[in-house]
Amino acid sequence: MTADLSRWTFWVAIAAYVAAIGLYVAFLRSRAPRTGRLASVVAWGGAGAHLASIVLRGVSAGRGPWGNMFEYSSLLSLLIVVAYLVFVEVRMGIRTIGAFVVGFAVLTMGLASMALYTYPAPLPPALNSYWREIHVISIITASSLLTLGGIFSILYLFKERKERRLAQAERADAAELAARDAAPILGGSGDLDATDPPDYAPGADEPAVAVAGRRKGLLPASETLDRLAYRTIAIAFPIWTWAVIAGAIWAERAWGRYWGWDPKETWAFITWVLFAGYLHARATAGWKGRRAAYLGVAGFVSLLITYYAVNLFIVGLHSYAGV
């Protein structure tokens, strides 16, 4: 009964998210603040239904709703949407990337319900540990932020390329450049939601490329995307670190070894190393910007492999075949 209700609210959430994506896209084209606000409201509504679905699932299974692949995916996509709504929309007043973020969440949910759905059921004994709860919740929280970081890095790479092209074009046509400079620079309001003043006013020393890019294109300036990516990854990295440590503590209690290079552990480590690489790259001359973003994307891909490929194609202790 609750299981059916959970399934039903899950589909309501997907429907709301799809509607929100449509509105976000409409907002990208029209820049009408009302469309943007409506998109957010619908997305929040979807998140509410999504939350209800997850809670009902937990009630139905008689345990925390983070016990198998379907449940991880559902919780992950909820956290991605909520983290985006809170950090990017409310805190920073940026609404122009909603379609990408919510789109990713819907994709995850759709795949999860088609390929990974299982009826709510209790867990085998090895999973029955509060360290597991801590580990899983931290991993999912960190993953949602790392996913946002990955999406921002991908968008950054697109935008940065576009800005470089644009800068080239402008250099080639100096006369047009002069004409454009006569018009007042709008301080980024072309991209940032006009109703909520942006946190980041463009600094005096902002590179000319970024300023040029702001006047064209749908996405926030590459610099903003870069900063967004860094912020989310910097928050996620310690959480991921903690989650891996908690996983090692759990493994020590459950199997008597804290680290065994089992595929899931190995990929969690690879993801961690790649994001550590990202953080270093951002502090290394010559690696800032594009190369750092490539590392962020690599970390994101590695995260997806950690989550999905390992369970579906490579199995280890974490597949929990038995004790």
Binding site: A248, I249, R253, W255, Y258, G277
Partner: protein
């Protein structure tokens, strides 16, 4: 060639170059990526010693001999133990140390030194002026108070200037974080080196001793382990599996009494998955279980064997439920002349077994209900093998003398004068036993890694200078400053500090 540098000079130059290269952030970055790449290889190629890997490696050798041979030569079947994996992380650690020494020295200098005073404050990235009423000295002592309250390290006023800085914690945290990897490594090496891990197979009612012989060669011992086994005695009273309605296991519990080597009791424990027992420095983990039928063999009324026999489940085919299969066990009787061996198949749930026979559909046998054993008795020369398998026997030098079935509580005749009895069915538990004295060190390293990471990522170094100059009747307050990280946030903080210094309420 006359001015060619002498060898020691050249050597020193190359070493210096190597050190400089290792110190560079780019090298560290590349080494991190190479480490990730090596781990990718380790997760894709089956690793020797992992569950199920042996069969996969064998299959690879059979189907793709060239590739398998190549993998073998490259050490890809044992990535984490290979020389090149060791080389990568050793280089990374050397690079890390090379980075950390100068940074640590600079930090110490920084902590010991007081903030630097400057005369010109208007050349910094952030700069503000505020006209104030009152004397410059009053403005400066107020500035000192304000900055102290905002947790800046303050120097001055000297020469009408105050220097202040904040955010050393960032560097301290970053260094603690990076150094902790050495601590982690020490914990791993110490724990692995002085520890061991092995499995104990104990039937209900039996007592097992934590000594070298107790492991039947299954123990993996560290390089510096000096056979100081604990001698812990483990008497298993009872083992229980609790099943859910769908016959999936819910809980495994071993109830045991622990005792010192001399027999003085330590106390009873319940060992469950995720709840290991801990005594005399070793940990006992619930790792597995199975059936142990007590079998008694007598010749002319004199017992030759009378003990629980460990049986194991043969591997199931893909489409088979392993729980429907009988368990196999072998009893070897080397003291008989001629020698004998009995191969058993155990049906722990006789009712389910019968129902399977009648219905055709194999049913899982998880409960102890009317169990029975089928047996094949062989006579001849037992094969001479050092380690004998639990579930297979080479009968080439033997002949079968009888076979049959014996139910619980029954006795059958194996050969003239030799009887086989099956008085009861017990369970056995498999415990993993290990000792790792490095866990405490590693936990400390883990905590330091986390605690160091937070300020390393979120704190920022920033510096301020305040100068008060007489200006007409009042004072002109000049404030300059900059941040090394999180610059966009500093802009706001700077404005607030300036307001605070000027006594403006926000």
């Amino acid at each position: 060639m006359a001015d060619r540098p002498r060898a020691p000079v050249r050597l020193r130059a190359s070493l210096a170059l190597a050190w400089r290269t290792l110190r560079s952030m780019r090298t560290a970055l590349i080494l991190l990526l190479v480490l990730a790449l090596a781990a990718v290889a380790g997760s894709l190629v089956p690793q020797a010693g992992f569950p199920g890997a042996a069969a996969e490696i064998e299959r690879l050798h059979r189907d793709h001999p060239f590739r398998a041979d190549l993998f073998q030569r490259l050490g890809l079947f044992d990535v984490y133990g290979s020389w090149w994996f060791t080389l990568i992380y050793t280089l990374l650690l050397i690079s890390l140390a090379a980075c950390l020494f100068p940074r640590t020295r600079a930090l110490l200098r920084n902590v010991l030194a007081r903030p630097v005073l400057v005369r010109e404050v208007d050349g910094f990235r952030h700069y503000a002026e505020r006209p104030l009423t009152g004397e410059p000295d009053a403005a400066l002592s107020r500035a000192r108070r304000v900055l102290r309250r905002r947790r800046f390290r303050v120097r001055g006023p000297e020469d009408a200037t105050i220097a202040a800085e904040k955010g050393l914690l960032r560097e301290i945290g970053s260094l603690a974080f990076h150094w902790s990897f050495f601590l982690l490594l020490i914990g791993v090496i110490y724990g692995r080196g002085t520890g061991f891990t092995g499995t104990a197979v104990i039937a209900e009612g039996e007592t097992w001793a934590e000594v070298h012989a107790g492991y039947d060669g299954s123990a993996r011992e560290g390089r510096f382990f000096n056979e100081d086994h604990s001698g812990l005695l483990v008497h298993v009273r009872d083992f229980e599996v609790r099943y859910r309605d769908d016959l999936s296991p819910e809980e495994f519990t071993t109830r045991a009494d622990l005792a010192h080597p001399d027999g003085t009791s330590i106390g009873p424990v319940d060992i469950r998955v995720n709840h290991p027992a801990n005594a005399l420095g070793v940990k006992l983990y619930q790792a597995g279980y199975g059936w142990a039928p007590v079998v008694r063999v007598e010749r002319d009324g004199e017992p030759i064997a009378d003990a629980p026999l460990i049986t194991v489940q043969p591997p199931a085919a893909e489409d088979e439920d392993p729980r429907t299969l009988p368990w196999r066990g072998i009893l070897r009787l080397p003291s008989l002349r001629p020698q004998m061996a009995i191969v058993f198949e155990l049906y722990p749930d006789g009712l389910a077994a019968l129902a399977s026979l009648q219905g055709g559909e194999p049913l899982p046998m998880v409960e102890n209900r009317n169990p029975f054993l089928t047996f094949d008795a062989y006579r001849g020369d037992l094969p001479e093998t050092a380690a004998f398998a639990l579930d297979s026997l080479d009968t080439s030098g033997m002949e079968k003398v009888s076979s049959g079935l014996v139910g619980e509580g029954r006795t059958e005749e194996l050969a003239p004068g030799v009887t086989l009895a099956f008085p009861e069915l017990r369970e056995y538990t498999v415990l993993q036993v290990s000792r790792d004295r490095g866990l405490g060190i590693m936990l400390a390293a883990g905590i330091l890694i986390l605690l160091g990471l937070l300020p390393a990522l979120y704190d920022s170094r920033r510096r301020l200078w305040v100068r008060a100059e007489r200006s007409g009747e009042g004072t002109m307050l000049k404030v300059g400053g900059f941040a090394l990280q999180r610059r966009d946030q500093f802009e706001e903080e700077f404005a607030r500090v300036v307001d605070d210094l000027a006594g403006v309420d926000r």
